[in-house]
């Protein structure tokens, strides 16, 4: 399973070296995740409104292979790396305009219930992630 989210590196994400500040990559990784969930018919805002579950991050990491300059068109490809009992792992690879890998972000999302206790992934989300 694979989902593509495209953006241009905005000015406000670029530092004095003219390239994206490393920490801002995670905003774009999350944008890809939100777009993916909406595309699959389960937008995050509906999950939150339902109020039964939340999926806070327990781990996030990124490798940076090349700077992403201001204005560059980036193709972010999201894939589901792992679906566990109470957590799932996503990977987003960021491709530069020339097709090379500029960066990879990996995020681990835990399932918690309304009382912030660890919970099993609900069937609907599990089905979506393993489709």
């Amino acid at each position: 399973m694979n989902f593509t989210h495209i953006f241009n590196v905005p000015l406000h994400d670029c530092d004095p070296a003219g390239v994206m500040f490393y920490g801002h990559l995670f905003r774009h990784a999350h944008d890809a995740y939100e777009a993916f969930m909406a595309d699959r018919g389960m937008p995050l805002q509906e999950i939150f409104a339902a109020g039964k579950y939340k999926y806070p991050l327990v781990h996030a990491e990124a490798d940076y292979r090349a700077p992403m300059p201001h204005g560059e068109r980036i193709e972010a490809r999201l894939s589901v790396e792992r679906v566990g009992t109470t957590a799932f792992t996503l990977q987003v690879v960021f491709y530069a305009a020339d097709g090379s890998e500029a960066a990879t972000a990996t995020t681990v999302h835990a399932c918690i219930d309304a009382a912030w206790k660890k919970a099993a992934l609900p069937d609907g989300l599990r089905a979506l992630l393993t489709a």
Copy 2:
């Protein structure tokens, strides 16, 4: 002249009230400006790379009429309000999913040269803005 830029309100822009933090509106106003300039064939990164001129903000303001909730599809319509000798003014109106106006941002951009001195808008940019 009018240009439309569309986005969904991302989670990372929303505060504990579940709606966009007011200050983040200006990032989206700038995204609309960047998309407009690229669409018109004069992307900001090429202006900066040329190194002759910059267009720093001298004034920015926004009116907020309705909260923009997480996930809402927003249509940002940019128009050129005024083209002066050494500055130009843009307006971006943010429309909610139901077509109502959620917010308006107005930004005044001054033209400065490589020495950060006020300069006349170059002809190419003037032509673009008044087209």
Copy 3:
């Protein structure tokens, strides 16, 4: 009444010109407001937790007089400009390291109740703002 909040311009707020991106100024204006409210014994998180009132922005504006370069020590001085029946106005002046004014941000905060209806400013907040 006057309150001072100090910060250094962080790298992640600076754009390829080496100076603060204009929109990020409002994050710092809000930081000054939060620090002011906490200092006066009414931290925003307690207001939100109480759940009776919120103070969303209805207007924000800023004038930029000089670029704020990366690393510069900025003194942000907050003052209460106006206390109305259902809204209040704050002004934050940002002073550069040499004491000159680099920017001014003005924000208008409306009082709304739990149903997002306009409401009179509660007495406690009014007293705080007019002290």
Copy 4:
């Protein structure tokens, strides 16, 4: 070696769950790094102005153990984990108000020269990091 940087979780970093959005942690990790370097007499802006070296991130990761709620006072303790030939690794542990660990961020910074080629860490920085 250890350096402490303190902040309160700002509203604009908090998402609809009322806690810091995970990606924003890296901005605070970088603020701690900037404050550390300035404290040690080598502020980042002077390194950049000198123009000989930059220290872009090649890897970043974070573990999140507990949510950081709006307004909470956080103590970020930075330590130098490793100083290699052409890179160094920092760790920032974020302590909640009750002294428990809320999150840890680890960042690997490569040394590159003005031509963006990998370079040996300059002696001054090496001395600072191993002091």
